[in-house]
Symmetry: C2
Subunit: 208 residues, 2 copies
DNA sequence: ACCTGAACACCGTTCAAGT
DNA sequence: ACCTGAACACCGTTCAAGT
């Protein structure tokens, strides 16, 4: 194992255990058993270290088993991406801050393109639709791991007190459904099913 | 203007101009003309300062003009949210890290609920669909401002060299459409139109 | 080539002291 | 109540020096 891989391993371990903020050059160096400055020849800078960490965990999405059904293919990739973000809760925020150009990341994009082509989506719409789907999947995963879907996101009881009566008519009408907590697994699957129908609607009758 | 508002103004000004990383207690204190420790009685901690900044700029989405058409309503809110994220490029990352429970943010959610109810979406599906739509809109905005849609996100020519020939068959097939840069305004509008159709598909014939 | 150690210019926050 | 100033335990990174 090269020193660079050793450094990446240490950084990922720290991020998984203590969060991205705990990944300091000093902490990584400690874990490796070396002085902070010894990291620089191998990783360049902290920004490059973060990019390399992202590339490394994205490889966990591979290999993609070539399915015959585009629906299975997209579902598998979506669930795998969400799983990845749950195993490495820090990766979501990194995904939005740079293009995913690591070779393994581009392979994943290619698989999504292929699934959309198989579905019969016009070639001109494929790149846009890939961005839309990955934006949703990454956004959902980041909402879960980052805290947007956290407690009180559904039940704004505390907030309602600060607002005049009747300021939230739709919340009142939906009180019954806002009361019970969401099942994030179910919701993700249902969202994907809706998006699958969106894809079908865009597909042309003759897929080739 | 209270001291707290003065502090929030200073923090937002710095973040808009130099990015979120430039918002340090020391920098904000400097801008206000006071010592760093003088901020604490007013804002509690840096984490609370960030939350307050988020709440403050979200208020720019108000007031929501009650439109008769749910389509107009959703489109306006989506474009306004994207515009907000472009005026304050730091807000996207904050949105994903905590529930939007500021009173003004809940008003926005209520307007979306109302639009979905007007569209005829079953009440049981409304909260889920609101989360799906806002996840997409916020994710799209963050992709633009954060850098995910940045250069080389579409044309992975550099990466392709690192991969064996034929590793990216779908990219090859789509070369023609991947070559020309995307128009992010157009793409956002097209995505919204697709999502509108998704909403229509979920709507029941009798909206009441 | 690879690593160390001191230094620089920063952080958020605590604490005791001033008015 | 509001603010200051010194201090503590951190940052990322440069630089000169060692092997």
């Amino acid at each position: 194992m090269s020193r660079k891989e050793e450094i990446l391993d240490a950084a990922v371990t720290i991020a998984d255990r203590d969060g991205l903020d705990a990944v300091s050059m000093r902490a990584v160096a400690d874990q490796v058993g070396v002085t902070p400055m010894a990291l620089y020849p191998h990783i360049g800078s902290k920004a490059e270290l973060l990019a390399a960490m992202q590339g490394r965990v994205l490889s966990e999405l591979l290999p993609i088993q070539a399915g015959t059904d585009w629906r299975d293919q997209l579902r598998q990739l979506a669930h795998a991406s969400r799983g990845l973000a749950r195993r490495h809760p820090w990766v979501g925020s990194l995904m939005f801050s740079r293009p995913s150009v690591a070779p393994d990341a581009v392979r994943v994009t290619d698989a999504i393109y292929q699934a959309l082509l198989d579905a019969g989506v016009p070639a001109a719409d494929v790149p846009r639709l890939e961005r839309m789907l990955s934006t949703f999947v990454l956004g959902y995963a980041l909402s879960e791991t980052g805290g947007r879907f956290g407690p009180s996101s559904q039940d704004p009881r505390g907030t309602r007190g600060q607002l005049p009566d009747g300021a939230l008519p739709a919340h009142t009408r939906l009180a019954q459904w806002l009361a019970k907590p969401a099942d994030w697994d179910d919701e993700f699957a249902t969202d994907l099913a809706d998006l699958e129908r969106l894809i079908e609607a865009l597909a042309q009758p003759a897929p080739e």
